[in-house]
Every structure is written in structure tokens, then in C-alpha cells.
Symmetry: C2
Subunit: 418 residues, 2 copies
């Protein structure tokens, strides 16, 4: 079969499977999740031997050490997939949940009830654990999924797919509820993105070029996650000890992720008291600085920031620093250079906290807490499938609820329209 025919057949099969999954009882979905976990445990050696093929191919192709590292399925990767599956099994089932209900004057009772989205396509890069993590969350929400991992992880992903298929079969569910595309041909993605009759949503997970490719080529709605240029604004009234802990955590705890702080904005009145101390502590942790002129006076080792620094997502131990005249100037900077991802204000002032929260429209806006809390698990959604910077459908971390939509249900006793 040609690539095109294969993908079209997979999309049609997924649509048929999605109808069955939508009606699948919670207990059965949870049983499948736990059986996949068991399968991973039992087949750990098989998965790792298949993974070794990918790792050796990657080395032979001269991929970077970092990429080879991300590709590896270690004992700890397997344990973490198993833990993830167990946690998703314990999550509430969103399907059938009524999010609100009300009466109409004519006696009709109207309710909004969660239903699965249908078929979700996920396109991702090298980490093979995404295959399990993403499939589990989609399955819990009653969806069918089509997964397309990186070509360098093909053996690992097919091994994981076989375990999922076994668990679905044992439960009497269609194996087409979770399909991993077996073709490395890049054209498979292009064809997949055209199947808008069968696929309801595409989620790309990976670098900006992958996401842009998907957005440019998709006829299907895409939930995308572009970069996170996250800000912390230290207000005039901030508790400086608190501000220091928050900034240190936001920058240093895990600098390579999207919810790490990239730019620090400091109120002019606090700059002299705060910046030298903060910079010393961050500097000791290896952070380098790109500052506005005033910041450069206060931070001895800072290099002058250029216009290119303000919208930059460093994902590294580099921090842009700017002294601002007031909160409005901070918010203007965020509006001009931010990515609508995550912003924190550190303040002791009631009115400014309220104002920042109302006026900053990023996906997560925090008062007196680290930007690193923009995460589905940390915010209490359970596992997450990603962080959307698209405003449509879901904005911010996406959990199981965000993998559903709502229908209206209307209970009457013979009402007709006047």
C-alpha cells in the first residue's frame, strides 16, 4: 500500500474506533491503562532491545549526544511510563460529566455534558515515552489516537504500540483506538494533516519548526505550543526575600523548559536593593545576564541587552534583566515581547496584584509564585498532554478535560417551539 493509502485507511479506522471508545465504560478504560502498564513491565527487555536498534542507528547517523540521550528508554523511563499510566487510571473520567445545568422558563432542562473529541493526531519528536503518555491520556478521555513519532524512534515506538494493541485486544476494544504510524516517510505527516473528515484535532509536540510545519500544512484544527518567554515582575512593594526565592526557582530549577523565567523586570525603586543580591546568587548558580543600561550598572558582569534579547527564549542559564518605572511599564514590556505563556508578579500590594491578574492575558498569570507552576500536574489537572498557547479550545496546560468537548443535552416533556 502507498503511504497515502495507509494513512487514509488508518484515519478511517480511527474514526470507527472512536465511536466505540466514546461509549466505553470508565472501568474498562482504566483496566486497559493498567494492563498496558503491566505489559511494559513484562516486556521491558523487548522494548529496550528494540530501543537499542534506534540508539545504534542514531549514533551511526551521528546524531548529537543530547538527541541520543533523549531517545534512550532506560529502566527509569519505563518506570516513569508505568507510574504515568497508573496516575491516568486514577484520574476522574471526564466523559459524561455535566459541567452545568439549568432550567428554561418553558420547563426544558438544559445541560452541558462532556464527550470525547473523537480522533486526535499527535506528532512528536524523539522521546519514545510520549507514545505511552499521550495515548494514555487520550484513551482516558475516550478518544482514538494516531501517533506519529520521530523516524529515529521507529523501533521503540512500534514495540510500545504492540503492547498497547495487546491490552486493547484483551479488553475487547478495537486496536485502532491507538495507532502508531509505521512509516518513516515524511509524506505520511502531510497526508495525515489532510484527513479532516476523520481527525478532529492535531497536537504537535516538539520544536518550533515542527509546529510551524504542522500549522502551515494542516486542514485540521491544531493546538500548538509555541515558545515560553516567561517574565517575573518584582513590584515596588515586593518582599525581597520572597522575590529572590521565586526568581531563583523560576530561573535555575530547570532552565531548559518552557515555563522557566527568561526576563526579570524590576521596579526602579527596588532595583538597587534587589538586583546586586539576586544577581550574586544567580551568578553563583551559573547564570549570565543581559541587562538594560540601569541593570548593567547594578550587575557588574551583565552584558548589555540588545533588542533581540527581549523576545528570546534562552532555555539556558541566561537571564534578560530590565528596570522599569512602574507596573504599567512592566505590563507594556510583557505585551510587546512576551509569548502569552506565563507571567508572575511579586508584590505585597492588593490593588496591583488584582490589576496584574486582570490585565495580563497569558495562559497562566501568578501572584507571588514561581513561573515553574505552569504545568498540568502542578496546577492539579493530573497529567498533561501539553501547554497550549492557542486561545481557541484550551489555553495553558491541557489535561483530560481539555481532550473533550461538550454537547448540549435537553430534557423535555413535549415542548415545541412557539
Amino acid at each position: 500500500m502507498s503511504t497515502e493509502a495507509t494513512i487514509i485507511a488508518m484515519a478511517k479506522a480511527a474514526k470507527a474506533a472512536a465511536k466505540k471508545m466514546a461509549a466505553c465504560p470508565t472501568a474498562k478504560k482504566n483496566a486497559v491503562l493498567l494492563q498496558i502498564a503491566q505489559g511494559l513491565e513484562q516486556s521491558a527487555k523487548f522494548i529496550q532491545s528494540e530501543n537499542l536498534k534506534d540508539v545504534e542507528n542514531a549514533k551511526a547517523k551521528g546524531l548529537s549526544a543530547a538527541m541520543v540521550d533523549r531517545l534512550k528508554v532506560t529502566d527509569s523511563t519505563i518506570r516513569s511510563m508505568i507510574t504515568g499510566l497508573t496516575e491516568v487510571a486514577q484520574l476522574h473520567d471526564p466523559v459524561g460529566a455535566v459541567t452545568s445545568t439549568w432550567m428554561r422558563p418553558n420547563g426544558l432542562q438544559v445541560a452541558r455534558m462532556r464527550i470525547p473529541l473523537g480522533v486526535i493526531g499527535i506528532i512528536y519528536e524523539s522521546r519514545p515515552n510520549v507514545t505511552i503518555d499521550a495515548a494514555a491520556l487520550c484513551l482516558k478521555a475516550g478518544n482514538a489516537t494516531i501517533l506519529r513519532g520521530g523516524s529515529e524512534a521507529i523501533h521503540s515506538n512500534q514495540a510500545l504500540a504492540a503492547i498497547v494493541a495487546g491490552a486493547l485486544t484483551n479488553a475487547g476494544l478495537p486496536t485502532e483506538a491507538v495507532q502508531v504510524i509505521p512509516i518513516t516517510d515524511r509524506n505520511a505527516v502531510t497526508v495525515l494533516l489532510k484527513q479532516d473528515e476523520c481527525i478532529d484535532l492535531i497536537i504537535p509536540r516538539g520544536g518550533e519548526s515542527l509546529i510551524r510545519f504542522v500549522v502551515e500544512n494542516s486542514k485540521i484544527p491544531v493546538l500548538k505550543h509555541y515558545k515560553g518567554v516567561c517574565h517575573v515582575y518584582v513590584d515596588a512593594s515586593a518582599d525581597l526575600a520572597m522575590a529572590e526565592e521565586i526568581c531563583f526557582n523560576a530561573k535555575v530549577q530547570r532552565p531548559g523548559v518552557c515555563n522557566a523565567m527568561e526576563t526579570l523586570l524590576v521596579h526602579r525603586s527596588m532595583a538597587a536593593a534587589f538586583l546586586p543580591r539576586m544577581a550574586a546568587r544567580l551568578g553563583a548558580a551559573g547564570v549570565r545576564f543581559r541587562g538594560c543600561p540601569e541593570s548593567c550598572r547594578l550587575i557588574p558582569k551583565a552584558e548589555p541587552a540588545t533588542e533581540a534579547d527581549w523576545p528570546e527564549e534562552y532555555l539556558d542559564l541566561i537571564l534578560a534583566v530590565k528596570v522599569v518605572d512602574n507596573m504599567d511599564a512592566a505590563m507594556e514590556h510583557i505585551a510587546a515581547y512576551g509569548s502569552d505563556h506565563t507571567e508572575t508578579i511579586v508584590t505585597a500590594d492588593y490593588e496591583r496584584a488584582r490589576s496584574f491578574v486582570r490585565q495580563v492575558n497569558s495562559s497562566v498569570v501568578l501572584v507571588n509564585a514561581s513561573t515553574r507552576f505552569n504545568d498540568g500536574g502542578q496546577l492539579g489537572l493530573g497529567a498533561e498532554i501539553g501547554i497550549s498557547t492557542t486561545k481557541l479550545h484550551a489555553f495553558g496546560p491541557m489535561g483530560v478535560d481539555e481532550l473533550t468537548t461538550t454537547k448540549f443535552v435537553v430534557y423535555g416533556d413535549g415542548q415545541v417551539r412557539q
Copy 2:
């Protein structure tokens, strides 16, 4: 300026205006809405004289009487726009509403707060009242809008736009919060659909070819409304008098709209008792029938249905009729031929009511009520901007809430991530 330059400038101006509208207090938005209403009243003669130009051009071009009729701005059209504006002013303001809030074990309080979507592009056909109705709802939800009406309504739409601009200016709000594209060049739409950096959502309102054109050409998320092939299933246990009232209302009250019944499914055990009586009453109202073989035996004047009848949206006094063996067969028919729009079951059976509601995943699913209730006003959402058959973001009637998204707001007292 070229068409392209004009549209790009409008999109950028809309994005800037959207930031101001997002922070606009409720009272000010309501005042603008009421001032537009006042403007319509005061300028009714001007609007109608501009509209006359469009009507005469349309006649000169030989447009159909129905199209010319839809184009006309009568006294009653103006009254209805004024009523609409008053109603939208009275609606709740969705912006800033907290839809849920919860505590985390570490003391963080997490909330989801509604914010505007940003910039909404609306592409519609001849009825000029859409200009006011759509702009009002978007404005209430704190969005900026770019409206593109049909070229045949250009004078009417520009006259209405001038009144809106006047009201915005008087309130000290940017006139770019509501812009009506002044160019009839079709290329304007194509360019508009590429402005994904500035526009957050596109809503096409019109026929299927318009919607398909928009979907094919848009880089921006589209909320689309395809056809409504709505079903009523009369179950074995149905109260036949109730079923008759519901079917009559669903088919005859307004046959040309998307929530009218197109196919009637009847349980075999009720067919002989129900169909002849129902068909006589519908027939007297001018309805013609396309039946399965069994229906044709019971309805003397029915023509045999072909495979093409089942997925057909007649929008006319024509009804497809099929006798089914049981509810499962009815649901299979709906899944195979329906459009996920609106389906009703008429039943007295608790378990089947429950089962139909759970298993049928159309945008509105009703028990013992007419399909005609799939409407934002009827379901209690206030005014509606359309009925989405897209599952992403909004499924079914869309009111002001559906013109917003939610951000996460997190209140802490110094929390950092472990």
C-alpha cells in the same frame, strides 16, 4: 493602498484595539451597545437610503427575488437590530468571570478566568443585520472584530459601520474595535485568512461553499457550521400525541433552517399506528415524503427514498421517513447519515432516554422536545453568533461565553517548585 496592504493594516489595528477592549469595563461596553442602538434609530433614513443602492444594484444584476429580499433593510430589520443590541447590553459580561477555583496542597489557589479571544474575523453573506448582531456580541465579550459582508451589501454595511464607529469614538474607545472591510475584491478574504499573527478566530456565516472556501484557505482556527441533517426518533414507548406535536413543530414551523427535522425514524412497533396519522397532518401542511419501503406502504403519497435522501438537508417541506427495528438501528442511521447537529428521541422509557443521551454525540441531543430548540436564545445563552458543528472550542450554539477563552490565575504566598 493595495487590498493586501489595507487588510494587513486593519488586522494590526484590530490587534492593538483588542488589547484595549480586553480591559474595557462592562458599563462602558454596554453604553456603546446602547449608543449604537440609538444611532440606528436616529440614522434609520440614511441606512435605508444606502441600502436602497444595494437593492437596486442587486436587481440590476438580476439577483434572485429571495436574495434581494434578504438584502433589504426594512423598518422591522432596524427594530430587530435595536432589540438585539438592547438584549446583548443586558447579558452578563463573561470577561473576568471565574469558572472554577480550587486549592492545591501547597496552598496555591488556582482559578480559571474568562478572557476575550482577541480578534475575531467574521465572513458572511447578504443579510446586513449580521454586521450589527455579530459586532455586538463580539464587543460584549471584549473582542475586536473585522467584518466582511457580501459585496452586494457594501453600502448598507458601510453605513452601519459608520454608526458603530461613531458610538466607539464617543465612548473614547478605538474605532478599530469594529472594522468593516470596505473592499469588495474577493482577494480581501484570502488575505484576511492569512493574518494568523493578528486574528485569533474566523467565523464564516453562510452557505456550504463559503464555509469550505474559508476552511481550505485559512491559517487561522475556523469555527464552522456545516449542514443540519436533524433526526427525530419515535421510540416504541413514545406518547404518540406528543410525538406528533414534536414532529409537526420540528418539520413545519420553519422548514428552511438548520435545526428543522429532515429525517423521521420510527420504531417498527409504532409505525402503523403513527405514520398514517402523522403523514396526513404533515401532508395537509404541504410536506412531501421520501420513504423506506415500509414507510411507503404506510404513507400513500410517499415516494421511495434513495440512498441520496438520507444525508440530505432539504431545508424545505420534504421529509425522509424510515422504519427501524429498534433504537440501536436508529442510532446507527444517525451515526451513518447525520451531521452531528441535532437529534431528538421521543420516548417514555427511562433507560432508552438515558442511553440515547449518552450515546448520541450531536451538538444538541433532546428527549421529548422539538429539534427547533437548538438555538442560543432558546437554550438560554442569550444571543448567538452561530451554531458550531466543529467540536473544538465550541460545539452547538455559541453565545458570549463561547467568544472567550480561559486563562489560569494562581494566587500564592511565595511558593516555589520542588
